[in-house]
């Protein structure tokens, strides 16, 4: 069974919300925000770890880490955190393959963990990520959330600390993030109801 390609939409009725250039600029801006908000590089700042949520949160985390290093000179830990086994909607969909969980060498003990995902929607994925993080071993100092797109419609009391772009959407619409690591290019697309993957 192939992984779900949230970023492989049908061509019909879709609008580009972010171009490739926009995506790059957005990530760069988020990197600046991370540096500022975490006081990165300050003598009293603890370790920071970016954990991407597969599929597309993982390359985003790596891109964000590279930008942060570029702008601040500080190498932050980066890894991935698969939440499949913690999802509360497993029984609503065909069985999903597992993603990778790869914690950075230093672990997450006492680190500021920033979860990274492509789209923030109901918030259920993030809740699953918090559960997965609790079991992953180690106790983070704090946990924050970075998303490329926040499309609203939250079903849980969860909000992002870093948002690339807020996009008002109808519930029936679909937001697709494309990244060159997993797709053919960088873009963010909005699909009308019933279109796309």
């Amino acid at each position: 069974m192939p992984p779900r390609h949230r970023g492989a939409p049908e061509p019909a009725e879709r609008r580009e919300l972010l171009s490739a250039g926009d995506v790059a600029r957005t990530i760069a801006r988020m990197a600046h925000q991370v540096i500022e908000k975490t006081s990165l590089g300050a003598s009293d700042a603890g370790p920071v770890v970016l954990l991407g949520i597969p599929t597309r949160g993982a390359p985003l985390a790596h891109r964000l880490a590279r930008r942060v290093a570029e702008f601040s000179g500080v190498e932050v830990g980066v890894g991935t955190l698969d939440v499949t086994l913690y999802r509360d909607d497993l029984r609503r969909k065909p069985t999903r393959p597992l993603g990778e969980t790869e914690l950075p060498v230093g672990g997450i003990e006492n680190a500021l963990v920033i979860l990274v995902d492509d789209v923030l929607f109901s918030g259920r994925t993030i809740r699953a990520a918090l559960d997965a993080l609790r079991d992953a071993g180690g106790r983070p100092r704090a946990v924050q959330l970075a998303v490329l797109v926040d499309r609203g419609h939250r079903e849980l009391p969860i909000r992002a600390d870093y948002v690339g772009k807020n996009v008002p959407t109808a519930r029936s619409e679909e937001v697709h993030v494309l990244l060159s690591e997993t797709d053919d290019r960088d873009a963010v697309l909005l699909n009308r109801a019933g279109e796309g993957a």
Binding site: L85, Y86, R91, P94, T95, R96, P97, L98, T101, D135
Partner: protein, 316 residues
């Protein structure tokens, strides 16, 4: 996938997904203090064992519990099974009581298939944990997981299965899975312990199956050797003259093991008869993967439960 009844006819892609999941689970749980995952919370898994088998039952039980399923063990001893209730009634009772999955071990070949047909109108999944001398699919999957770790895969590899193939469900499940993954399987046994026309069995198109009665010339060509347990009742069944003669001809001792290539792996489904089919030193040597098999067994069974129970019902 609703049931796991055997590896005969198991689509290699499905097997691969299960193995990848097992690998992912193993990595996820590596070094963790708390092994528990919430994935199957609220799901009920019943192990229904009509034969004694501590290792398989415990492996399934741990797998279920690490996935947070409620695991109930039913054994032929101390249940209505002993009172003469039919397998069919027992199965229907367990399904009606809310079992999401029944893991069955039974001395009759085909028992798991029968169970699945009786439960076809329910949502209850069936896992074959060994039916007579037919199949034991999770054993073959855990053997494959171990071989993938040790050898990187089995495609084009030459793997011997040595011993009582005739009565071995482990051998049958391994023949189908290994050949469907492209391995060349050599069955090594005296003619009395080989199934009828085994050389003509339809096997996975990617691999092949050959038969030999002589272990020594095979050893230098092997990437792995899988030893089967010699059951005491076979020794008295006239299938071979004596335990001593069997051990001399087919036992893997140090001298024989030294004929294997450096990288070759030794597997045994357990429980082992040290000194009979495997010598003490070989069983404890670095090439023996016997404890890894046990560890992988838990992860493979977790993966099987995940694929049977985690997704939506009626998912293909």
């Amino acid at each position: 996938m609703k049931h796991l009844l055997g590896t005969d006819g198991l689509d290699p892609d499905t097997a691969r997904v299960i193995l990848d999941t097992a690998e992912g689970l193993k990595k996820t749980l590596l070094g963790r203090e708390v092994k528990k995952l919430p994935t199957l919370r609220g799901r009920t898994v019943i192990t229904l064992f009509y034969e004694d088998s501590t290792r398989t039952r415990v492996s399934f039980e741990i797998a279920g519990k690490w996935m947070s399923a409620d695991v109930v063990n039913v054994s032929a001893k101390g249940s209505s099974v002993k009172k003469g209730e039919s397998l069919r009634d027992t199965a229907l009772t367990l399904a009606a009581a809310g079992a999401d999955c029944v893991i069955v071990r039974h001395p009759a070949s085909g028992a798991a298939h029968r169970l699945a047909s009786w439960l076809s109108h329910t949502n209850t999944s069936v896992v074959n944990a060994g039916d007579g001398t037919h199949e034991h699919p999770t054993q073959a999957l855990l053997d494959m997981a171990t071989l993938r770790e040790r050898l990187g895969g089995v495609e084009g590899r030459r793997i011997a299965i040595v011993g009582d193939v005739l009565h071995s469900r482990v051998a049958r499940s391994n023949v189908h899975l290994l050949t469907s993954f492209g391995a060349e399987v050599v069955l090594v046994a005296p003619p009395t312990l080989l199934p009828t026309a085994v050389g003509d069995w339809p096997v996975g198109a990617a691999g092949s199956l050959v038969v030999s009665h002589d272990l020594d010339p095979e050893l230098p060509t092997l990437d792995a050797v899988m030893l089967l347990r010699v059951q005491a009742e076979r020794m008295h069944g006239g299938f071979f003259p004596s335990a001593r003669e069997y051990s001399i001809a087919y036992g893997l001792n140090e001298a024989r093991a030294s004929l294997l290539p450096e990288h070759a792996v030794v597997l045994h489904p357990g429980p082992m008869l040290r000194g009979m089919e495997i010598s003490h030193a070989v069983a404890d040597s670095a090439r023996a993967a016997i404890t890894e098999q046990v560890t992988n067994g838990v992860h493979v069974r977790m993966a099987v439960l995940y694929h049977l129970l985690a997704g939506e019902e009626d998912a293909a």
